[in-house]
């Protein structure tokens, strides 16, 4: 499966240039062009201090999944084809893909300090190498670089759209601090947090490229809804993998959420079958043995299947939305991508 994901990233199966050489040159094709993205990102971060630069570029090594930029690039091309039958991407749309990844990375750097995490994507976290003080500044620096790049696009609507993401990320982090006693509220709280922490970035950057590519507000809403649904599905599967995957595959330790005291989808579903988990959720798995016991409960319950099923429903919704656009290789790739989100194992 990882292989399929990897191949897909390279664009073997769907890349328009290989299937039917279109008007644009192969170099123009979407995600493969992203191989240069990490270089471009490095260029965005015009920083004099070398160590600070090294820290800020640490995660832009081209080894991440680059899930967000891929979606954004595909969405840009799908919207452009829909609007005027030209798949060429504007420079401003490409910038949005980079900015999305930068905002994501800035939030990762800060989250890792907040959670005191020690590994990510198979390497040490910035805070473990350079210390918390510097890591926080590196996060702020990436955010400022992203804001500068955003301002240079010169479109106030786009600025407002992506600013919403920054606000959602922070509010999501606050939601994660609190927990709800009532079971129904707890689930709504979890979904809201998932939207703010993960899906908002994807939804709003999809919307931003659609605004740049096409004046029709109906298309903007389609782009937003696709991004939102795929984003939530992506995070639900992430939460499942925290239980089912081993740490080698993920590049970060598993059961991480439980250790942080967080009750994610699989736990909340499992709790319906094993009400004795309620107490553990309320004390945020803080007693010795809580994490292991909760993990056992989840694996015995159908929490994993139910969460996966929920993710499927979000994906179907995403496909339903994106299918409203005119057919194009990129639109089909986006449909395929929503399936890959469900079946990925890393």
């Amino acid at each position: 499966m990882a292989l399929r994901w990897w191949r897909w990233r390279r664009g073997c199966s769907w890349r328009p240039a290989t299937r039917s050489p279109g008007p644009s040159s192969p170099g123009h094709a979407g995600p493969p062009g992203l191989r240069a993205a990490s270089d471009a990102l490095a260029q965005e971060l015009l920083i004099s201090t070398t160590e600070l630069k090294e820290m800020s570029e640490y995660y832009f090594d081209g080894k991440g999944k680059a899930f967000r930029p891929i979606i954004v690039v595909l969405m840009a091309r799908a919207c452009n084809s829909h609007y005027n039958n030209s798949r060429d991407m504007q420079a401003s749309q490409r910038s949005i893909a980079l900015i999305a990844e930068m905002i994501h990375t800035a939030s990762l750097v800060h989250d890792d300090v907040i959670d005191d995490a020690s590994s990510r994507r198979g390497k040490h976290t910035v805070n473990k190498i350079w210390g918390e003080k510097k890591a926080v500044l590196a996060g702020d620096l990436i955010l400022s670089a992203a804001s500068i790049a955003l301002a240079r696009i010169g479109n106030t609507t786009v600025i407002s759209i992506l600013t919403q993401v920054i606000e959602d990320l922070v509010r999501g982090e606050f939601l994660q601090l609190g927990s709800k006693e009532n079971e129904n509220e707890r689930f709504a709280h979890y979904l809201e947090k998932t939207f703010k922490k993960t899906a908002s970035l994807i939804a709003n950057s999809c919307k931003a490229v659609s605004v740049l590519g096409c004046p029709d507000p109906v298309v903007h809403e389609i782009a937003y809804q696709y991004g939102k649904n795929v984003g939530i599905a992506f995070q639900l599967i992430d939460d499942v993998l925290d239980f089912t995957s081993c740490s080698d595959q993920m590049g970060k330790p598993t059961s991480a959420d439980l250790k942080l005291g967080l009750a994610t989808g699989p736990v909340l579903f499992a709790c319906q079958q094993f009400p004795e988990m309620n107490a553990m959720i309320m004390r945020r798995f803080s007693l010795p043995g809580d994490v292991d016991r909760a993990r056992q409960y989840v694996l015995q319950s159908d929490g994993v299947q139910q969460t996966t099923y929920l993710a499927q429903r979000y994906c179907h919704e995403a496909v339903r939305e994106i299918s409203k656009l005119r057919p194009s290789p990129e639109r089909d790739a986006l449909i395929q991508l929503s399936e890959i989100v469900l079946t990925r194992d890393k």
Partner: protein, 347 residues
């Protein structure tokens, strides 16, 4: 009320009369300290300063910004306040920062916003009046008031992020690791919250040039703070061999850029031309630099505390002194001081 005179008095109160460039002409400490006006300025009482601030506040209509009020009304901030309470009794620097925000706000915190408002009013509306829908209160556009608030938000956010501690450098005197982790968590979250609010406010201004200016000010500030941290962390080196020009560059990043670029952005919002924008930039820059130099000078001109003054070895007077003496002589002086046991690397 004479606004121009007040603007001129601001740097005066901060300890620098006239263009700050004059300062660089004095090659060493010994020549700086006896110069009358410097001593005179700093001996003015805080009461005078408060008077100037309240005069300024009258001019701009109402107290600088509603940042504090708005923060009180937000769910997130009341959440933070609850969390910060849990930190009471620990050694985490966030507590000191929080205390400073409450105590010091009239003197320092809102100063930047106030300067932005004053310069906005001083410049007035531009001839280019494309901005009929801008409402003004006391001669200041509402967008300029938001800008003043954003300036304060960015400054405060970095103040909070400055106070993160490195967990692997903790001493046993710092108390339990868990407290420090928790303190870091809250400090990051609250700083991020302030930054997100600043971004939001910027987006509402609907002016991409202003967004770019303030985003680059944030970048400068982060780099400046980073420099400051790395120089103060390496306490075992005597000092970095930096000349006054490097000092000026670094201090511009850490102290000048935000005010300079905010003043410029205030002019951009009123559609003033490039020349006026540049003047505002220069005013903000020099104002902030004088402020920093004045605070660097304090340890050297307080007469009563002659024995236990502490000062940063990278503060302006020290850097100038070192440049005047030459590197070798300076190192020798430091060594002598070390032998006498009077040198204490406490910041």
């Amino acid at each position: 009320m004479n606004l121009q005179r007040l603007l001129l008095r601001f740097p005066g109160y901060l300890g620098a009369l006239g263009p700050p460039r004059r300062l660089w002409r004095f090659p060493s400490l010994d020549t700086i300290s006896p110069v009358g006006p410097w001593r005179g300025q700093s001996s003015r009482s805080p009461a005078h300063w408060n008077q100037v601030v309240s005069e300024a506040e009258k001019i701009v209509g109402y107290p600088t910004s509603f940042m504090s009020l708005r923060c009180l009304l937000s769910d997130e901030l009341s959440n933070i306040a609850m969390q910060v309470r849990k930190l009471v009794g620990t050694q985490h620097p966030l507590l000191t920062t929080a205390r400073g925000l409450v105590h010091d706000s009239r003197h320092n915190l809102q100063l930047r916003g106030l300067v932005v408002l004053l310069i906005s009013k001083a410049a007035g509306p531009s001839g280019v009046n494309t901005s009929q829908n801008y409402d003004t209160v006391s001669g200041i556009y509402s967008c300029q008031r938001s800008l003043a608030e954003i300036t304060e938000l960015i400054h405060t956010a970095l103040l909070v992020h400055r106070g993160i501690v490195n967990l692997n450098e903790l001493q046993s005197s710092d108390g339990p690791l868990k407290d420090m982790q928790f303190g870091n968590k809250i400090a990051i979250l609250s700083g991020d919250f302030l930054l997100a609010n600043a971004c939001n406010g910027l987006a509402l201004l609907q002016n991409t040039k202003v967004v770019e200016l303030l985003a680059s000010a944030l970048m400068d500030l982060v780099q400046g703070v980073y420099h400051e941290n790395s120089t103060s962390a390496t306490g075992n080196y005597i000092t970095d061999d930096i000349g006054i020009s490097t000092w000026k560059e670094q201090t511009f990043l850490s102290h000048g850029a935000l005010l300079a670029k905010s003043c410029q952005a205030a002019m951009e919002l009123a559609k003033h031309d490039a020349e006026v924008q540049d003047m505002a930039f220069q005013y903000g820059k020099h104002m902030a630099m004088s402020h920093k130099i004045n605070s660097d000078l304090q340890p050297f001109i307080k007469e009563k505390t002659s024995d236990c003054v502490t000062f940063h070895l990278n503060s302006a007077p020290v850097v100038l002194h070192q440049e005047f003496l030459g590197r070798d002589l300076w190192i020798k002086q430091i060594e002598e001081a070390q032998e006498k046991g009077r040198l204490n690397y406490a910041k």
